[in-house]
């Protein structure tokens, strides 16, 4: 019994490690690049965005699993999958937008267009879709969604730290702004390749 428990814990740990590091959505799947570049100029904003995305991603993967299992599959409505998921995500984003507007108007301003754009963030939809495709159990899906969100948050905050330092650097004319940020993101992605093979998933 205990051995089984440990096996399960190990399994869940692997799911998290895989989602955070090995199959990082931004750096190895190249999903969610838009907010990754858009809201990473300051660490504070990046942290706020991270929490918003974590909220949406975890709940979206949970809700999508429920919808998939209890509505789409029983009624054979898989052709409605995308539209359902988008609906879930859009509602969650609306909710978090109201929440942030109420609690932190400055963060609301700083996130600007990127907050509603979480709706069309390919990472969020990607997580939901990949999750149900893999056909995992409920807890595994939730963890996977959460792990992917943590991975997104991790690289977003690290990247924001790097960009804050970059803001002081005399970057050559042609590379100023987005180009050097992309080069940096590329280097990060190279570094994350070191994790490949860490978890066979």
């Amino acid at each position: 019994m205990q051995a089984l428990y440990f096996r399960a814990m190990g399994e869940f740990l692997l799911i998290i490690v895989s989602a955070v590091l090995v199959n990082n959505y931004v750096l190895t799947k190249f999903l969610g690049i838009c907010p990754f570049l858009g809201v990473s100029s300051k660490v504070e904003t990046a942290v706020g965005m991270s929490f918003a995305v974590m909220f949406v991603m975890t709940l979206a993967s949970t809700a999508s699993w429920l919808v998939q299992t209890f509505i789409l599959k029983p009624f054979d409505l898989l052709f409605l999958q995308t539209i359902f998921f988008i609906l879930i995500i859009a509602s969650l984003v609306q909710f978090i937008e109201m929440l942030i507007h109420k609690t932190s108007p400055v963060l609301y301003q700083a996130l600007g267009i990127f907050l509603p754009l979480i709706t069309t963030n390919c990472a969020v939809l990607g997580v939901a879709l990949l999750n149900v495709q893999q056909g995992q159990g409920f807890l595994a899906s939730v963890l996977y969604g959460f792990g992917a969100a943590v991975g997104f948050a991790l690289v977003l905050v690290l990247f924001a730290g790097l960009r804050e330092r970059l803001a002081y650097a005399p970057v050559p004319e042609a590379f100023r702004g987005a180009p050097v940020a992309l080069v940096t993101a590329g280097m990060m992605s190279l570094a994350f390749m070191g994790f490949s093979g860490l978890v066979k998933f």
């Binding site: 108007p105 301003q109 996130l111 600007g112 002081y168």
Partner: protein, 193 residues
């Protein structure tokens, strides 16, 4: 039949989400615009109207509504513009006008006829005087907005440079190549954006 289930489930789901959202909307209603206060706090409060609005607060409201750009505050200069850019989450923009050195108004008292027009114009009540008496500017309170110049019928108000005090002197940046490059980069950045 199949299509009916599809429509019903999708519709039902959407209805549920809509209900939840409308509840949330009630709970998280935002009164007024909290940004106005924050924007007003970084404005220099000269009330000079150089931004095209009748004072600092109206400009703050216009910026919060997104009607006014962030680069119209002349006395606030680059710093205020950067603070506004930070608050609004937009890229810094070059200033409309370069800020001038800080000034104070000065009334040539022997020419003053005591009409009190300048007193009425002063947005911070920094001019004292009574009808038919000489008026004078309290230099410590004058914001240098120049709003008193126009109404004066005898043109007896001058704008003088604020005297430079040794206590208020601040070290300049070092005159090194690196500091200069940094400064230029920042200016170029502001201009390019």
């Amino acid at each position: 039949m199949h299509i009916l289930i599809a429509i019903a489930s999708l519709g039902g789901f959407a209805l549920m989400a809509g209900l939840l959202l409308s509840l949330a909307q009630k709970k998280f209603r935002v009164e007024g615009d909290p940004m106005v206060e924050k924007i007003d706090a970084v404005l220099p409060q000269t009330q000079c109207g150089q931004c095209g609005y009748p004072g600092c607060k109206p400009y703050a409201e216009a910026v919060a509504r997104g009607e006014a750009d962030i680069n119209h505050c002349v006395p606030g200069g680059e710093r205020t513009m950067h603070q506004l850019a930070d608050l609004m989450g937009v890229e810094p923009k070059p200033l409309e006008e370069e800020p001038t050195a800080p000034m104070v108004a000065f009334i040539r008292e022997d020419e003053c006829i005591g009409c009190t027009l300048c007193i009425k114009a002063c947005p911070v009540d920094a001019i004292v005087g009574a009808p038919k008496q000489y008026h004078t500017v309290i230099a410590d309170y004058c914001t240098g907005c120049t709003l008193c110049i126009e109404p004066c019928p005898v043109d007896c108000i001058d704008m003088l440079l604020k005297p430079e005090l040794i206590e208020h002197w601040a070290w300049p940046l070092p005159e090194t190549e690196r500091a200069r490059i940094g400064r230029e980069r920042k200016e170029n950045h502001a201009r390019a954006a």
